[in-house]
């Protein structure tokens, strides 16, 4: 630290206590001058559910896990894999 650093060692912090009521006053004063709360609001509605890779609950667990693993291996969603399976079942070939 240089000589300037020694000067700054004498810099004393001033109390920064502010009560909730004082903070409300500050907010009110600001709002009256157009300094309003511009914090972005959360989007309304239900949050997107995280992917669980679960199939319909009536699919046997082993079958569900096998389908999930195959879809992941192919880089598809399970829905896309099931569409392929349907094509094969219905028309004898995947498109």
């Amino acid at each position: 630290m240089n000589a300037s650093g020694d000067r700054l060692r004498g810099l004393k912090a001033r109390p920064k206590n502010i009560s909730t009521e004082e903070l409300r006053k500050v907010d009110r004063v600001g709002e009256d001058r157009g300094f309003s709360d511009r914090t972005p609001r959360r989007k309304p509605g239900r949050k997107v559910s995280p992917r669980t890779y679960q199939l319909h609950p009536k699919v046997l667990p082993d079958t569900g896990e096998a389908i999930a693993a195959e879809a992941e291996r192919l880089g598809l969603t399970q829905g896309q894999l099931i569409e392929r399976m349907w094509q094969t079942y219905r028309y004898g070939t995947a498109s």
Binding site: L11, K12, L23, K25, V26, F35
Partner: protein
């Protein structure tokens, strides 16, 4: 740094003070409350020793964050968005010195005076003095314009503390955001060409930092 006008020089002042005080040996915390994240971008390109940067500080946490960062021998610099928002009024309530940067133009003076008015009303509401000062930014190195002379006269007539020196329009100040670090590091790096006088920018920034130090010590 408070002004509801964008481009007044808040982020430049914040960087010059942060780097200046860090060079003087202070422990500096910079709060980037501007969604444009100018200071976060500057820091991502090289943060000088002695400076910590907290990005994306929100209105609800500002008072707590300032209180936690503050302390003896420490400097907390809050860079605010150039917009009239509640985070500005909250930051002002916590300030040991509110700096209102203004370019010497009629528009900057008009919009900047909103921040000065807010400070004065907060002083009345809280029953305490909130030190505040104006610094003129992007001024001409060669001549003082008529508008600047008139603005200085108006501010002084209104009893507003005017920080001297003003911050001159220097390429090096703008280049800091492209390269990170501080002016001294820029001066020492032969790969950085600013097209301007870095040595003069350093003198200007040091004198500005000294002038601010005199107001907070």
């Amino acid at each position: 740094m408070a002004s509801p006008k964008g481009g007044a020089g808040k982020s430049t002042c914040a960087v010059l003070l942060a780097t200046g005080f860090a060079r003087m040996g202070a422990s500096v915390t910079v709060l980037d409350c501007d969604p444009n994240k100018s200071l976060t971008r500057w820091a991502s390109r090289g943060l000088p020793e002695g400076i910590a940067l907290l990005s994306d500080v929100q209105r609800s946490e500002l008072v707590t964050v300032i209180r936690e960062a503050d302390g003896d021998g420490r400097i907390v610099i809050v860079d605010l968005e150039g917009i009239a928002s509640q985070i500005v009024s909250r930051a002002i309530s916590q300030a040991d010195l509110v700096i209102v940067p203004m370019q010497p133009t009629a528009l900057d003076a008009e919009v900047g005076s909103e921040a000065l008015g807010l400070v004065q009303e907060e002083e009345e509401a809280l029953g305490k003095e909130i030190p505040h000062a104006v610094v003129l930014t992007k001024t001409s190195a060669a001549v003082k314009s008529r508008v600047q002379r008139e603005l200085e006269a108006q501010l002084m007539a209104a009893g507003i503390d005017l920080i001297e020196p003003s911050l001159v329009l220097r390429a090096a100040f703008a280049e800091l955001f492209a390269h990170g670090g501080d002016l001294e590091a820029m001066m020492d790096d032969p790969n950085i060409a600013t097209g301007g006088r870095v040595d003069r920018a350093i003198v200007n920034a040091r004198e500005f930092t000294e002038a601010v130090y005199e107001r907070i010590r």
